[in-house]
């Protein structure tokens, strides 16, 4: 297996991009990454996108997008694993280069979610749940994560305030990220006073509806070193992926995200690293409880230790292991298919020392964890600066 590096990153500013169609948002991110890498041809394009069909009525996305970019003819594939579609696009590009099939791959993720109203968006997102066991009975994602939160609170004593502190931290980080959808300061009181969505989760525990795209250029180690031009070379040293029952009803334990644990273990093993080695981490905080559970499943903290950790500031910038320096899904926004790619882009920026005001000093090892649905799939990447 060949070593694989990230040689370019590109993001659009996340938000309600009403003036731009899906293909334009995607193309802007793709061009930014290609320019960052200094390349104009690639061997393959991967696109992570959860549901362009339900959000915009458009499928056959890979051909549509590469044509808009002006490179029709190139091999291109759209991949889907619900909200982990972006992570899957990264892993697909990684595998292509590691196997020797491709030399340079444009990895992208995109979602255009604001062309439909709230009810239609909720339905589209709900297709990531198990329709027969969950969706048909009326539950939506806030309800599923509320059940996970209840289970976690019951087992470990995780508190309502600890959940709020995840939102407070991530919004504080979002203030430092120019690409973030929200630039607003949030306090524990504002979280606890926001509209109740699904008890115990409130509005400010939930990630938003977002339009956005993110892109990376991956290349072989040889190519990356030959084209580094003095910039730090960031290598993907571990890629782990795992699945779990989509429906919560089929799981043994609701206080743990098993797919995240398994994907993490596989990534750590490939990279030859341990949780204690990490300097900066992006996790899939679609709801505040998800960040707490993901940090535990990744071994950053003991089971039940995620809540106290955020309360003690261990996951803040300047803490023991900063989590979601980008603002996370909570503040940066959650264009579902783009999220997994944007997470890796944040880690690359941190490892390159290009993260501006939110830079974690001396960061050399980072991890990005992407998740589908309520944990039915998860993809973890470990990156290192060489």
């Amino acid at each position: 297996m060949r070593d694989v590096c990230v040689v370019g990153v590109g993001l659009v500013d996340f938000g309600e991009l009403w003036e731009k169609p899906l293909r334009r948002i995607w193309t802007e991110a793709a061009l930014a990454a290609l320019e960052d890498a200094g390349v104009d041809t690639v061997d393959l394009v991967t696109i992570g996108c959860m549901s362009s069909g339900l959000f915009t009525g458009q499928e056959h996305l890979a051909s549509l997008c590469v044509d808009e970019l002006g490179i029709a003819g190139v091999p291109a594939a759209r991949v889907e694993s619900a909200c982990a579609s972006g992570g899957l696009a990264v892993r697909t590009g990684f595998a292509e280069i590691a196997s020797g099939l491709s030399e340079v791959v444009l990895v992208t993720g995109v979602e255009k979610m604001t062309d439909v109203d709230g009810a239609e968006a909720t339905f589209a997102l709900g297709t990531a749940a198990d329709q027969e066991w969950e969706g048909f009975h009326g539950i939506t994602f806030p309800g599923l994560y509320a059940m996970l939160a209840r289970a976690h609170m019951a087992r470990y004593g995780t508190t309502r305030e600890q959940l709020a502190k995840v939102a407070v931290k991530n919004h504080a980080n979002g203030l430092l990220n120019p690409h973030a959808q929200y630039h607003l300061k949030v306090t524990v009181e504002t979280v606890l006073g926001s509209t109740l969505v699904a008890d115990p989760l409130r509005l400010l525990d939930c990630s938003p509806i977002t339009d956005g795209a993110a892109a990376l250029v991956l290349a072989s180690d040889d190519w990356a070193k030959a084209h580094a031009k003095g910039r730090p070379v960031v290598k993907i040293t571990g890629s782990g992926m795992a699945t779990d029952s989509i429906s919560l009803a089929q799981r043994d334990d609701l206080s743990e995200l098993k797919a995240v644990r398994l994907a993490g273990e596989r990534a750590y093993q490939m990279a030859g690293r341990a949780p204690k080695d990490l300097h900066v981490v992006e996790v899939h905080d679609c709801f505040t409880i998800a960040e707490i559970m993901a940090t535990e499943a990744l071994g950053l903290f003991e089971p039940g230790g995620g809540g106290p950790a955020v309360e003690r500031g261990l996951t803040a910038i300047g803490g023991r292991v900063p989590v979601n320096t980008s603002g996370g899904l909570k503040a940066k926004g959650h264009p579902v298919g783009a999220t997994g790619v944007a997470q890796v882009a944040e880690i690359v920026s941190q490892l390159r020392g290009e993260a501006g005001q939110r830079q974690v000093q001396g960061a050399r090892f980072g991890l990005a964890q992407n998740m589908g649905g309520s944990g039915g799939s998860s993809i973890v990447h470990i990156l290192e600066v060489v």
């Binding site: 309600e16 009403w18 003036e19």
Partner: protein, 352 residues
Amino acid sequence: MRVGIVGYGAFIPRRRIQLEEIAKVWGADAPAYRKGLQLNEKSVPGPDEDTVTMSVEAARHALARSGGIDPKDIGAVYVGSESHPYAVKPSGTIVAEAIGATPELHVADLEFACKAGTEGMFLSQALVKAGEVKYALGIGADTSQGAPGDALEYSAAAGAAAFLFGADEEKLIAEVLHTYSWTTDTPDFWRREYMHYPRHGSRFTGEPAYFRHTKSSATGIMEKAGMKPSDFAFAIFHQPNGKFPMRVGLDLGFTKAQLETGWLSPWLGNTYSGASPIGLTAVLDVAKPGELVLLTSFGSGAGSDSFVFRVSDRVSEVQGLAPKTRPQLDENKIYLSYGQYAKLRGKIRMAE
């Protein structure tokens, strides 16, 4: 020739429903709505009140302030509304007949979501200015519909305002100094034929629709007039809820004091075609000669009309000649339960 308002009047129904009364039916978060939309209660039309009857009331109040204009001299009547009682058959003919303006006149019903009222005002002043008619009556009136449980149900209200335009120097209450309109095709809110309730693009109704159009329109007219916010004594913006008009006004550099007099929506709700025009009547009720007034409407779809008025000496003579707007809003209220409200708004399916 100076053209302006020579008579004005408003009508607000007595019935009200409070935000909490609606919210409790739907299990909604009333404090969040109260804070987020800055709405407390809204007007509701009674069993014998509709767009036509409210238009007639407002028109009669306008005539009462006109200094004895003969209704037969009114050459045009325009009723702007998105809740005309008939899909086919004009409201304006009933109004014109009721005030004694028929038969020698031009009548039309107008529709442009929430800005049909200022359209009638624009056409009226333009026809007078062109010398086509002696007087013209522009009315904005609505008994707006919000689907049960929808966010619009907390705001969709009822009311009317009427403005007589003319060019008699001695009758001028407020002269029209400038007009300006800003229009694009922006589908933020709509109701198709045979649909009972309108649909809206939720958050899309904010920045790309309301704020972009009202800001462009208000900025445009001030540039055209060579004026700035501090030149005005009052500014009135379309008020779909309590929050939007105050925010756009403050964003443009107006002060709360300039905005508050015509800011009725926190206690009136959104009277659609009547909204900013009723706000103007509340301003004229207290305005002093020489003061400048900015009026900026908004209609989904989308467009915004702006007017700059200069209040004339006659204003103080006419303010007391018909019911003022604030007392209609603040006094003699009848509070409804949701059940009574549902009955009056035709939301209960009856035996066929």
